[in-house]
Amino acid sequence: MIKVGIPRALLYYQYYPMWRTFFEELGAEAIVSPVTSRVMLQEGGARVVADTCLPVKIFIGHVLSLIGNCDFIFIPTIRSIRKNTYNCSKFLGLSAMTRAAVPEAPPILDIMVDVNKGRLRLYQAIYRLGKNFTPYPHKIRQASLDAWRTQLKYRYMMSNRGLTQPQAIAKVLGTSTPESQVESPETKTTIAVIGHPYLLHDDFISHRIIPRLKQANVKVLTPEMLADTTLESAVMKVMGRIQWTCESEIVGAGEHYLRSDVDGVINVMAFGCGPDSLMMDVIRRQATRLRSTPFMNLTIDEHTSEVGIITRLEAFMDMIYRKQRARVAVCG
């Protein structure tokens, strides 16, 4: 059986169930790299120029960890999934950059997704990808339809049932979720954590921000729990138009949660990320303007010590608890 390696980084969090369905339908096996570790960051970081952002360094580390375990590595180029809205340049050049940085990697399967070029071009791209596994066009068509159905189901689980991406992936694959879905009744505080899924759900990069909050009995909301239409209209409200593919994860989710009844919003961004630095600023200004919800930005880079993150999280939660206590004292 042909083995297709999928790095557990970047777009993995948004599309893994879809990709896996596609490859399995075509008789291949999807192999996912293990969870991020310090070794991956060290090895990945050594292959690329120093200015490369942390998530890409980690991506290269994941590719390195797949060498020897698979026949192909799948690195799609998601250029645009919405008309006149484009992805960050690091995503556009990812497969080319990987080829240059990791010459010993198995052949890279690439597919260019750009909806601006029309449906036909997209179908042709899917067909070209499928041809690596089968000569029959109808099988490729069936596999891509099944994959799309999986994607819709996956997205529904998050936006309608409040699952996070790792939880929904576990559900789609039928593996048991490590943490139970039942929230303890005494969770009184809700925090929205916004940012790219490859930062929020990678416990190595994020220093376990979400598990730490949950441990402190806080209910955590993330961008993927909102429907795409909600996210997009929130971006439109703030910006007037949607420019970046990933804009809804930060500007959309940020705007929505700042106006909702959450007790606080935490934005997680990677140091050196161009789009993030612009989008974070939009939300920070919005938080200042609205004055309704406490907001904190956490910038993460490879040198960030856990202590710095813990201190800020503690101070942020303390601020919210003291505020709640003061409100109780005034009212009651």
Binding site: P34, S37, R38, V39, M40, D203, F204, R208, F271, D281, R284, R285, T288, P294, F295, M296, T299, D301, H303, T304, E306, V307, G308, T311, R312, E314, A315, F316, D318, M319, R322, K323, A326
Partner: protein, 324 residues
């Protein structure tokens, strides 16, 4: 006589404060950490106990600062609290209507925004140390000057020179350049203070609503030239409290006081005599997974008191968990 102890172990200095039951300051201490938090805390306890009456009973102890967990284990702290909360609580005790707190320490700086006596926003510096005390320390060292002298000379400036304060490295080359051009050292030094203030306001204070009353605290508030530069930049009065350098410790003692009097708990404080005990720290690399975490451990007489530094809880051990 009952009292409450707060200890703030920062990167550069360690601060201790003891409050009586009416939250009045009985004793305070400010000493350099010198990279040895454990012995500094022990030494601090020894020194402060000499200032205190013999019949004093510590009803609660707390720690804050970057070494708060380590210090907490050593003294038997009843609570360990972050620096933001403790600084704000202390300032509110003295200036109840404070709206903005600037705190500049050795390696980090913070801004705390307070409205109606409640923290509503805060920020701490990120990777950059250009707006902190170590920036000034470094420049004073280079000019072969004590930090006190730097402050004094800067106050004599008549026509400050503009120094690029974006980064310590650039500021240094800019200063050297200005020195070589023949500008007066006083003017360069005050220019440096202005650069630090600009850097602080543009980094830590970015997007924050800075309203008076503004209270400035932390070690750098000793520097009158910085206070003056803040006043000129913001065109408003900057309040520097008498015990501005120990506010973190005072705030910790206040929080301990508040929580211990409410909860009727017995304090875990291990007495001032812990200054005679021998503590050892060591570290090792955990090889259980590819993360290769560096685990630090604190032990006393071959008994491990605490371990931390892991990404999972395989090695985590705090005094609470070992007690069961």
């Amino acid at each position: 006589m009952e009292a409450y102890l707060g200890i703030d172990v920062g990167s550069v200095t360690t601060k201790l404060a003891v409050l009586n039951k009416d939250a009045e300051l009985m004793a305070a201490l400010y000493l350099p950490t010198q990279g040895k938090p454990i012995t500094t805390v022990q030494e601090g306890l020894r020194q402060i106990s000499e200032q205190l009456p013999k019949d004093l009973e510590i009803r609660g102890a707390g720690t804050t600062g970057s070494a708060r967990y380590l210090a907490g284990v050593i003294v038997g702290a009843d609570l360990v609290r972050n620096e933001i909360t403790t600084h704000a609580v202390a300032t509110l005790q003295y200036i109840p209507d404070v709206q903005t707190i600037f705190e500049i320490g050795g390696q980090d700086s913070k801004i705390i925004i307070i409205r109606d006596g409640i923290i509503t926003d805060f920020a701490m510096n990120t990777v950059c140390a250009a707006g902190t005390g170590s920036f000034l320390d470094h420049q004073a060292l280079r000019l072969n000057m004590s930090i006190e002298e730097l402050s004094q000379r800067a106050m004599e400036s008549q026509k400050p020179v503009r120094i690029a304060g974006r980064c310590t490295v650039f500021a240094e080359s800019d200063m050297i350049h200005k020195q070589q051009m023949g500008y007066r050292i006083e003017d360069i030094l005050y220019g440096l203070c202005q650069a630090l203030v600009r850097n602080y306001l543009n980094n830590v204070g970015l997007g924050k609503e800075i309203n008076p009353p503004i209270v400035f605290q932390g070690g750098v508030a000793f520097n009158r030239a910085i206070v003056k530069a803040f006043q000129e930049e913001l065109n408003t009065e900057i309040i520097v409290l008498p015990h501005h350098e120990v506010m973190g410790a005072i705030g910790t003692a206040l929080v301990v006081h508040e929580e211990m009097s409410a909860g009727q708990r017995e304090s875990q404080f291990k007495e001032f005599s812990i200054s005679d005990l021998e503590y050892h720290t060591s570290s090792f690399e955990c090889k259980a997974c590819p993360n290769l975490c560096e685990i630090a451990q604190l032990s006393q007489n071959d008994q491990v008191l605490a371990r931390w530094g892991g990404r999972c809880d395989r090695w985590e051990r705090s005094p609470e968990s070992s007690r069961h």
